[in-house]
Symmetry: C2
Subunit: 398 residues, 2 copies
Amino acid sequence: MDYVISDKVKTLKPSAIREIFKYAADPSVVSLSAGNPAPEAFPVDAIREISARILEENPIAALQYSVTEGYPPLRNAVKEYMQSKYNAVSENDDILITSGAQQVMDLFTKTCCNEGDTIICEAPSFIGSLNSFRSFNCRLCGIPLEDDGMNIEALEKALQTEKNVRFIYIIANFQNPSGVTTSLEKRKAIYELAKKYNVMILEDNPYGELRIEGENIPCIKSFDTDGIVVYAGSFSKILSPGMRIGYAIAPKPVIAKMVVCKQGEDVHTNSWAQIVASEFMTKYDFEAHLSSLREIYRKKALYCMSLLDKYLVPAGISYSRIQGGLFIWCRLPENAKISMNEFCKQAVLNKVCVVPGNAFLTDEAEQCSSFRINFSTPTDEQLEKGIKILGRLATEVL
Amino acid sequence: MDYVISDKVKTLKPSAIREIFKYAADPSVVSLSAGNPAPEAFPVDAIREISARILEENPIAALQYSVTEGYPPLRNAVKEYMQSKYNAVSENDDILITSGAQQVMDLFTKTCCNEGDTIICEAPSFIGSLNSFRSFNCRLCGIPLEDDGMNIEALEKALQTEKNVRFIYIIANFQNPSGVTTSLEKRKAIYELAKKYNVMILEDNPYGELRIEGENIPCIKSFDTDGIVVYAGSFSKILSPGMRIGYAIAPKPVIAKMVVCKQGEDVHTNSWAQIVASEFMTKYDFEAHLSSLREIYRKKALYCMSLLDKYLVPAGISYSRIQGGLFIWCRLPENAKISMNEFCKQAVLNKVCVVPGNAFLTDEAEQCSSFRINFSTPTDEQLEKGIKILGRLATEVL
């Protein structure tokens, strides 16, 4: 039977990363293609303890229907934390707990975009968000990323020429996949341009707490005196991704519409997970936990970069040092004899898996000479083994 | 600031039920307006035990990212159960675990409907699903419900005259809000009409296991030799709604598109909840648990109907006896001196809360002389108190 598929979904493809995961499932393949937090980063003991306590003391709260906006103590904890630490909540803002930050992309796009409207994003950008935008039949306009963030001239030009631009999507800290951190100057410039051209900003910050060096740069939401920024926060990298908890901080009228959409989408986010997150933030030493995460990822990132210096750089593959996050973006030399896609294919045949960079472009058919490496999921041994193979391959084929 | 709101979301309103919940939050008000499972229906001990075990034995599986399709053992358990007990899974079908059955409505509508497409539903019908359909700018066409299901002539006429009908939405067992169970004859007629007019069926069955009398009637999905039925199942009424687990059983090409949409929506459903559900289905006496639930709801339903017979029927309010589910639909007499809406408002002023029937219509502005009573959430004392007040009010004002 030929099923009727909506226009918006017809052209959606499973992400290229998922195809790669099929190879990565082979245990003899070293996967540098995932984006999972390191298993040692989960506060397992605390979660076990909290879970046992809530199922003992107040099981019905964890198991019964709850309100769409989110578990009130968690909304308060997030509000207080994001306000006092990052100045990211104004009195005109409200907080909505979502089923992972991914749902913020979905709900906000649904709320403000008609089919055919344009979303400006970094090129490259996070494939999960791009696919969410695509699923509402939005046009994507990618702005080239430089070492300190989007090219501002290209951004202004897009704002001048693109029709029905609804928002600018940005991951300002340790971007996925590029690892780029947008400078304070550019964050301010982007905010001013959004204001000037009357579009909103969707600021996605899943990795913000995972800074391994340098000083925190204020989030764009902290400049938001005009009520034009929607901030997407996540517990996936700092507590557990399997729990699927994220949140939106946004102007009240925007949150109100997102709540109505969430009601029709999944009613509310898993109650148990919301209570666990709330208790973890308020009854445990949350800051100490974040410090310990930074220590885990600092070690892993530095080790990964030392391996890149040792095995890939001499073979002509360059990369930009990162200040945090989980990903490093590697570039093939300009005079490479084979394409990046071919290089990634050869890598798989040699039992190491990385993600080809074009998967992160607004148009996957575009040329791209970079690939993404993840260092949080593999063990140190796997990292060394994988990068060594890539280095040998590069020496042979580039 | 004036925010740009998409056409599809602009006219969406928070459900009327939510407004009523504001009154229901007043502890002096008896709420007969909810749809929560009875707290005593949760298998708290088992959930506590399973949760402790999985967080002890394999915490990473419960906390790490997992696949969009759902936890494989849960998909298998659902498949086996629904196949062997209800013949509801064909070899052309696949199973997707969702964040509550509500997400099946969302994902399937997104997958097959363009804006302006038509969805045929029962009138009245479940407001959460109607709002989900509305959020994709779909046109709703309501077919009057009779005591044994939709009026088949009206359904065929709609299929002949409505444009771009994508699917028929039906809750065949103990419908929310009407309590109506569609007869086997009508289920077959609806399936044949869908086939004849080349539209699909979305069969939503959240209450199917809560039959309190009579024999189970085969689900429409069990006739589905043509691959035209999407079945939405739920753990909300048989395990816990706060866990947010539901599932879709649908032809493989449809599930494949729903999976891509789910990726962009929330990546996957909470892992802990999926593992708990899977263990509960396979390592505990699931059938005995379902029996005990039926016993709980049988008692509550029979008690509720005895109160209606005692207090409301003599005052001119009629109702249809139910075979299961959580809701009873009450009708004001034809010659009532006040409108149903006014009656519900008076009820709140007298400290009892029911849901006005027009909240469940495709057009809320339409007249309706019925209201919905829920008997699963209130205690026996609250039920008696509430229905007594309604009876006194009816005697005074009707």
